[in-house]
Amino acid sequence: MSSLWLPILMAVPVLGAIVVALLPKGSTTLAKQVTLLVSLVVLALTLVMAFQFPNAAGERFKFEATYDWIPSFGVHFGVGVDGIALVLIALSAVLVPIVVLASWHDADGVKAADGTVVAPKRSVKTYFSLLLVLEAMMIGVFAATDVFLFYVFFEAMLIPMYFMIGSYGGAQRSYAAVKFLLYSLFGGLLMLVAVIGLYVVAGQGTFMFPELVGAIQDPATQKWLFAGFFIAFAIKAPLWPVHTWLPDAAAQAPAGAAVLLVGVLDKVGTFGMLRFCLELFPDAAKAFTTPIIVLAVISIIYGAIVAIGQTDMKRLIAYTSISHFGFIVMGVFAMSQVAQAGAALYMVNHGFATGALFLAAGFLIARRGSPHIADYGGVQKVTPVLAGFFLVAGLAGLSLPGLSSFVSEFMVMIGTYSSEAFGSGALAAAAIVSALAVILAAVYILWMVQRALNGPTAEPVKAFKDLNAREVWVLAPLVALIIGFGFFPKPLLDVINPAVTSTLVNVQVHNPGVAEKGAGQ
């Protein structure tokens, strides 16, 4: 029995992209309106689907649909979602309309403070149709239940993002775009070798994920294939030491594209680790846990320390994300129910929090034409609404209790600390060290807030106008979600937990958390 939900969810943005691309020349406002409408339709469909999720048919994957695509290669167009994929699709669907609103003028060109043109005016239609194509691919990559299909989306989604950064970004845009593409492509190609290896060694003649789970038994083969997948995901996530493309790409991308890049595209990396690295190669995952946890802790601390030293707001936010991705990776590989659920929840919450912060910073930058923190000061007195949103988003970034990121960060740390997966103190030690990052987070966020928003009002800042209605509509939903899920994360966790449980069953980790849950239900 196949459900049409997911194919429709992907077809709508693609059709929207075609419509936008075919609009007559010069109809820029219409292009924006159509894009917004399409993205809202996708959001509405996603929400309806999400509410049906608990009752939908299917064991682990629901809304499944599988069609033969390339029988010669054993490739299917196979889609279906578990809880983790569902919340990430919902995250994408929420972020896209917000990004559309936020990017209303992104294609109009960027001018520096002194009036020199940083980025010339570009085609509005192209930008928005790329955005819609990207949305379809984001949904597809999380929904794919066929490893090959996942790979196709994983690689293909680089192209629209590449053009969004390269054509519409800041002064260093083409450097940043090329760096982004080459890093990701290199990782992707290594993954291609592993994908082929998986197919050949498994010898199942199919790429369907459920049939490949447990297909590779030989430990040495598992390790090689795991490495191929993991390197690609680590570059995508990004994990230290392959993170250097992110600050460049995020700083040069227009704010809206940066939100999708950091908020959704990078999550494909951590999602892939959880879904593919752990479940397809459980023994290798366990064997490599220690070095990966070490890399994650380094990312957490390194990202936080380097963020403190940044003078450019967008780069600063990018480095905070590297720190946060460290937490997510640590949670994934801690192999306990709480830590993995925390990591999955973190993927969503980080999308909201960092998205809000990027967008608030973007609005600030749009008013001054400079990303440097030193060019601001006393913004709070001139534009209290903007400053307020910025502050809340910042506090979410440092995981203040009561805001959504806190719940997930806490779960990751507790889950890692108490994980008995390896019966050693190593994970506890990792959790303790990573807790230091909480203090560092307070430093980088509050210091930026202090320098940019407080203090004497800088001369150019005096002319700032506060947020207009469009901009409020961009930030308000995100802040509402941040506060809402901060106090009441249960709906998300209810969806995520069963998926994490089945992941852990496939990994075959002895996990007391699962037994308790099972007994309680």
Partner: protein, 528 residues
């Protein structure tokens, strides 16, 4: 002795495509000799196109009828089997498309014999002269391309090689602009090509000395019975390898490719980059798989090194290129390397070999089509002095001609092997075949095959850099004030580009029909 001479049997129906192309070429020569100058073009163009299309139709008829000969035809000279028919179809389509490009104005010199820049040349240009010999020459080259991979013995293969190469040497020197460069390219190609032909011939002689026959089946049989480490055989097959690897432009025999691709008139470059490559890979397969199949534990390690070297040399040197045609030449070298990965992917079983062969055939088709499309676009970007081939001239082209640049970018992404383009599936199929062959129990290369695929993906990543660089230039840079003009494309060129784009997109999304076709062609394997 025996007084009676056996009358040769020729299977005319089976050979019809080949005979049609050669017949039309000879007719073309007669047209040159007897038709008045002003009428020649209106004879030549339809004659050339119709013969190519007709030959393609004859191939289709054979495919549909499906009763392929089970043994070699024409007294054992040619083997018309599934792979041959597929390769013929591909070559005929690609060359017909290239003829549409050749047909465009302004690619060929008005009077090849006059000194560049002389009054003679100017006069010929003013009088509107053109060398309509180009058409029969191209037809002879195509005929050679058809014969080369279909040959069933080394001598026929040599004849095919020469019939294919000689007209190409000449065509390379006929560019209208930058004639000295073109003539230099022609000279280089001729000298190096003559060397490689000599290597091939030496190799054939030595293998004959070993096996006592030049037919591939005979050689294979001799090896099944005789010693495998005979110096005559080893030397012979290395020399044969040199000759063939030269034709596909594998390292270290790749030096001619950039110079020749750059100097030759772009339609001819397109013909060489697509048709010649397809033909040469077909011939390579026949020699190594059919003739030397029993020796594969011996030549595969050598070819491993050549393939790795070719991919890396092509990808790395392309980065430093500043001329679009040279860049595409190095890209073609890298792709020859990818194809060699497929040639290496031999199995112990026929079914396994069919998988590799399917991958190679599929790759040849998609790469050839994208190449022709890319070169067709190169012909359209022009300066007053001819094509604007310097990369710096392409800056900001995305703003001047968004559709054209978009299509070109798409071809580049296909070369880079990005998913949802045909190139991705080509690469995927080849790499899968290679890893699978290494996984076979007792394979002589084993994990080295996976290593070669890793080299391949690293080369792909490097190659992606220079493809992307062109996209950056076209889309992210500002156009120069006196940028090149985009010529209004003729109907022929539009057809070429549209066709290439449709295939590249279509196969990129739904590769299954073409894969099935390649599979059908490959499953019968080569006639032995």
């Amino acid at each position: 002795m025996n007084p009676t001479i056996e009358f040769p049997t020729i299977e005319y129906a089976t050979l019809a495509p080949l005979l049609l192309v050669f017949g039309a070429a000879i007719l073309g020569v007669l047209v040159e000799a007897f038709a008045p100058r002003y009428l020649r073009k209106s004879f030549q163009v339809p004659l050339t196109l119709l013969s190519l299309i007709g030959a393609f139709a004859l191939v289709i008829v054979q495919v549909v009828r499906g009763d392929l000969p089970t043994g070699p035809v024409a007294m054992g000279a040619l083997a018309i089997d599934g792979p041959t028919l597929f390769i013929w179809g591909v070559i005929l389509v690609l060359s017909a498309v290239c003829v549409l490009l050749i047909n465009d104005e302004g690619h060929f010199v008005a009077s090849a014999a006059s000194v560049p820049g002389s009054a003679d040349e100017e006069g010929a240009e003013r009088a509107g002269h053109e060398h309509t010999e180009v058409y029969p020459l191209a037809l002879f080259a195509v005929g050679g391309m058809l014969m080369f991979p279909a040959a069933n013995d080394l001598l026929t293969m040599f004849v095919g090689l020469e019939v294919m190469s000689l007209p190409l040497y000449l065509l390379c020197g006929l560019a209208r602009r930058r004639r000295l460069l073109s003539q230099e390219a022609s000279m280089k190609y001729f000298l190096l090509g003559a060397f490689s032909s000599a290597f091939f011939l030496y190799g054939a002689a030595m293998v004959y000395g070993y096996a006592g026959t030049v037919s591939f089946a005979g050689i294979s049989q001799a090896m099944a019975q005789g010693a495998l480490l005979d110096p005559l055989l080893l030397l012979g097959f290395s020399l044969l390898g040199v000759g063939l690897l030269f034709k596909i432009g594998a390292a270290p025999f790749q030096a001619w490719k950039p110079d020749v691709y750059q100097g030759a008139p772009t339609p001819i470059t397109a013909l060489m980059a697509s048709g010649t490559l397809v033909a040469a890979v077909g011939a390579l397969l026949r020699v190594f798989w059919v003739g030397l199949g029993n020796l594969d534990w011996n030549w595969r390690p050598v070819l491993w090194v050549v393939a790795a070297l070719t991919m890396m040399v092509g990808a790395v040197i392309a980065i430093t290129q500043t001329d679009i045609k040279r860049m595409l030449a190095y890209s073609s070298i890298a792709h020859a390397g990818f194809l060699l990965v497929g040639v290496l992917a031999t199995y112990d079983t026929g079914a396994g070999n069919a998988v590799s062969l399917q991958a190679i055939l599929f790759y040849l088709l998609v790469y050839g089509v994208a190449t022709v499309g890319a070169f067709a676009i190169v012909t359209l970007v022009r300066d007053p002095g001819g094509e604007a081939n310097h990369l710096s001239r392409w800056a900001g082209l995305g703003k001047r001609a968004p559709i054209l640049s978009g299509v070109f970018a798409f071809f580049l992404l296909a070369f880079a092997g990005i998913p949802l383009t045909s190139g991705f599936f080509g690469k995927y199929a080849l790499f899968t075949a290679a890893i699978g062959s290494g996984q076979e129990a007792g394979d002589s290369l084993g994990a080295w095959m996976t290593g070669l695929v890793v080299v391949g993906v690293i080369a792909s990543a490097i190659a992606a850099f220079f493809y992307v660089r062109v996209i950056v230039l076209m889309f992210f840079n500002e156009p120069a004030a006196d940028g090149p003009a985009i010529a209004v494309p003729s109907t022929g060129t539009v057809t070429v580009i549209t066709l290439s784009l449709l295939v590249t997109v279509g196969v990129g999304v739904f590769p299954e029909p073409v894969l099935q076709l390649a599979n059908t062609a490959a499953s019968s394997l080569f006639i032995r």
